[in-house]
């Protein structure tokens, strides 16, 4: 097997003081003269976005890169794509490179779909002849036949995404760098992207794939690199690396009450903050043991610091490899909360029947305001990742989740969980079995 990518002791430094200051030419002149006449030391604030990274990728390998925001994943991809340069160290990429850091880079809204296909194709490094030969396939893939000669400013967001991805999917390169582009768009678009990625996977091309979605990474990439604060922390089999990554979030041990007042790394603008989560029985007592099929109550405590309008409260459940099982949301259930003035309070979510398979689940909680009319964006007021956990156990049995796990039964594998995700209410009937009545009683 021949080598596709070699990275040796590569580092990238950003001088933040340079990036932030001296953006005005006159300031640069003033600072320059100060340096000469006052001999003042200019303060340097340096950040190593990447520090001493080394790895090699063989031809035909599909390698995932994971890590938190700011870990250096995208910088790595930008260096490999030659968009930015390393400060020290070296790298070599053998073969024709295609990089897809964004869908539809360079699209011009005044130009038609057809014109944008050519423009985008050539920006991605395709020859005009090549685009021409693949035009029909691209158009069919993007499903824009009827609008091919319409300016894309009249396209819907979904159509533009499809068009952009269609062009990129038809790039014929030996090596492909993909950055998180699959995380956008609707379900059918995402499916299309996944199918394409699987085709690419089987085509023998070398792919480096950056993603936050652990399930996708695990499905696509046999090998994963874990970046942490600019360093390559781990390089190995995807299942092992993903476990290691998830463990970084700290071990959230399941309990019936979580205090959220002093959680670090929370997102959002802060008008409102979650202060706690409780898992309760339907009559409000702490729930010590949660089983598939149980009735329960989830209580979200909050504190409002500044008046907000139309907040939407959410939380979701994810498995330990990050596959989202379900999302609960006030708006998802059709509720619209008007205005919240400063003060404290709580919301209760009554779950009549917890129909999820026994496993350990982690919760993300967030509040946002969805101002489609004004900004077309959500404003996130508070957002907390992986702040609570529940162990859902087998109903009517003393077998704990932990014991199941030990027996290997609950081993999870991305979206392809052993037992799926849903627990359907059912009753097993053993009357017809050819065993003694006594044995039937003991099942």
């Amino acid at each position: 097997m021949s080598t596709s990518i070699i990275v040796e002791n590569l580092s990238k430094k950003y001088d933040i003081s340079k990036l932030r200051k001296e953006t005005q030419f006159r300031e640069a002149l003033i600072n320059f003269s100060k340096r000469i006449f006052l001999r003042g030391e200019s303060r340097k604030e340096e950040i190593w976005a990447l520090k001493d990274i080394s790895f090699t990728v063989e031809k035909g390998e599909i390698v995932g890169i994971i890590g938190r925001n700011g870990a250096g994943k995208s910088t790595m991809l930008k260096i490999l794509s030659k968009i930015t340069y390393p400060t020290t160290g070296r790298f070599d990429v053998f073969g024709r490179v295609g990089s897809l850091l964004e869908v539809g880079t360079g699209f011009h809204y005044e130009l038609s779909g057809r014109e944008n296909i050519y423009l985008n194709g050539s920006i991605l490094g395709m020859k005009k002849k090549e685009v021409k030969a693949k035009l029909d396939a691209i158009v069919a893939f993007a499903e824009v036949e009827k609008f091919l000669d319409t300016p894309i400013k009249r396209y819907s967001t979904g159509m533009r995404l499809r068009l952009g991805f269609a062009v990129a999917a038809h790039m014929d390169t030996d090596i492909l760098f993909v950055d998180e582009v699959l995380a956008v768009g609707d379900v059918s678009f995402q499916k299309k992207c996944m199918d394409t990625m699987k085709d690419i996977k089987n085509s023998g091309r070398t792919v480096i794939f950056v993603s936050h979605t652990m399930a996708t990474v695990e499905n696509l990439c046999p090998r994963v690199l874990l970046f942490e604060k600019g360093k390559l922390r781990m390089d190995g089999r995807s299942a092992d690396v993903i476990k290691e990554y998830i463990a970084q979030f700290g071990d959230t041990v399941p309990q019936s009450r979580f205090d959220l007042t002093s959680v670090p790394n929370r997102q959002g603008s802060g008008e409102i903050r979650y202060t706690g989560i409780e898992f309760l029985t339907p009559d409000g007592q702490p729930k010590e043991r949660i089983c598939s099929g149980d009735s329960m109550k989830v209580r979200l405590h909050y504190k409002v610091h500044e008046t907000i309008s139309r907040p939407e409260f959410y939380f979701d459940l994810k498995t330990d490899v990050g596959a989202r099982v379900t999302t609960f949301g006030t708006a998802l259930s059709g509720h619209e909360i008007q205005t919240l003035h400063p003060g404290t309070g709580y919301l209760d979510v009554d779950i009549d029947f917890l129909n999820i398979i026994p496993d350990r689940y982690y919760l993300n909680v967030w509040v946002n305001t969805c101002d489609l009319l004004i900004t077309e964006n959500d404003t996130i007021h508070d957002g907390l990742e992986r702040v609570a956990a529940i162990d859902v156990e087998m109903p009517g049995s003393e077998h704990s989740y932990q014991r199941l796990k030990e027996s290997g039964g609950a081993a999870t594998k991305g979206l392809d969980k052993w037992w799926g995700a849903v627990f359907i209410p059912c009753r097993w009937n053993f009357h017809g079995m050819h065993i003694s009545e006594e044995s039937k009683q003991n099942i």
Binding site: T23, Q24, F25, Y85, T88, F91, V93, G106, H108, P151
Partner: protein
């Protein structure tokens, strides 16, 4: 690829640019296409700018100030300089802002960055050619004989392009770093309009100012444009040669500076 030292040779640069020539073509094509798609007046816009400048200049400088115009009516005199000037001013302004205007491309894909200011400077040539056709109309209207000298007209835009691109590369790469540069570009262009013999003939300058004016590369090029139109005006070949030489030097200074700072574009834009 070596991180610490860029050992990119001139040859490598040209080679790479050749590989990406289609992208360059598409950038020019995009700029031209979008320009004519977005404006109601379309191609007419290319004519309006130099034409109305000519009308205003004719009223104030030709009629009221009685500016000498080298033996032809002032409209012919000024329009023959305003067509290349409009191209030059547009090309410098457009390519000077081109990197910041295409920041999404700089941070998302790799290609020779040179293609951005170069295509921006080149796309104005279409406007230039359209505006040039009106020149013939004006010449016929004022009974100026159309001579073979006019064949030089389109070729003179070549040194003008290199000059505009040289300045455009300097401005655009400084613009990435210092955002106040963009306010100085129109100002510099305005100064150049007055220090270049466009409104007035070079002959009204007394020595030693005339020698000084020769150092402005626009002087020789604009003067040469004019001499292809005006029947009694000899082309000052020496003056043109000096201007071309200075233009090429400015182009290479621009290219050198651009190449030196281009690797930081994606990080700071």
């Amino acid at each position: 690829m070596d991180g610490s030292a860029t050992t990119a040779t001139k040859f490598k640069f040209i080679n790479e640019f050749w590989r990406y020539r289609e992208l360059f073509y598409f950038f020019v094509w995009r700029d031209v296409k979008v320009k004519y798609k977005q404006t109601v007046l379309g191609a007419l816009w290319a004519i309006i700018q130099p034409f109305f400048s000519m009308v205003v200049f004719t009223i104030f400088f030709g009629k009221f100030a009685k500016m000498p115009s080298e033996g032809v009516p002032y409209p012919v005199f000024s329009y023959s300089a305003l067509v290349p000037w409009t191209y030059f001013a547009g090309a410098v302004g457009y390519s000077g802002n081109s990197l910041v205007g295409n920041s999404d491309l700089l941070t998302k894909v790799y290609f020779p960055r040179f293609a951005i200011p170069a295509s921006a400077a080149l796309s104005g040539i279409v406007d230039f050619l359209i505006a040039s056709t009106i020149l013939f109309g004006i010449m016929i209207y004022y009974n100026i004989p159309l001579t073979l000298n006019l064949l030089f007209w389109p070729f003179l835009v070549i040194p003008l392009f290199f000059l505009a691109l040289g300045l455009g590369m300097i401005f655009s790469s400084m613009n990435v770093k210092y955002r106040d540069i963009k306010y100085t570009i129109p100002f510099i262009i305005q100064i150049l309009l007055f220090v270049t013999p466009i409104i007035y003939p070079i002959t009204i300058l007394p020595e030693p100012y005339r020698k000084l004016a020769a150092l402005n590369p626009l002087t020789g090029i604009i003067d040469a444009f004019r001499s292809t139109v005006l029947p009694d005006k000899q082309m000052n070949v020496w003056l043109l040669a000096i201007s071309c030489f200075i233009s090429v030097i400015i182009f290479f200074i621009g290219l050198y500076y651009f190449r030196k700072v281009e690797k930081d574009f994606a990080d700071i834009v």
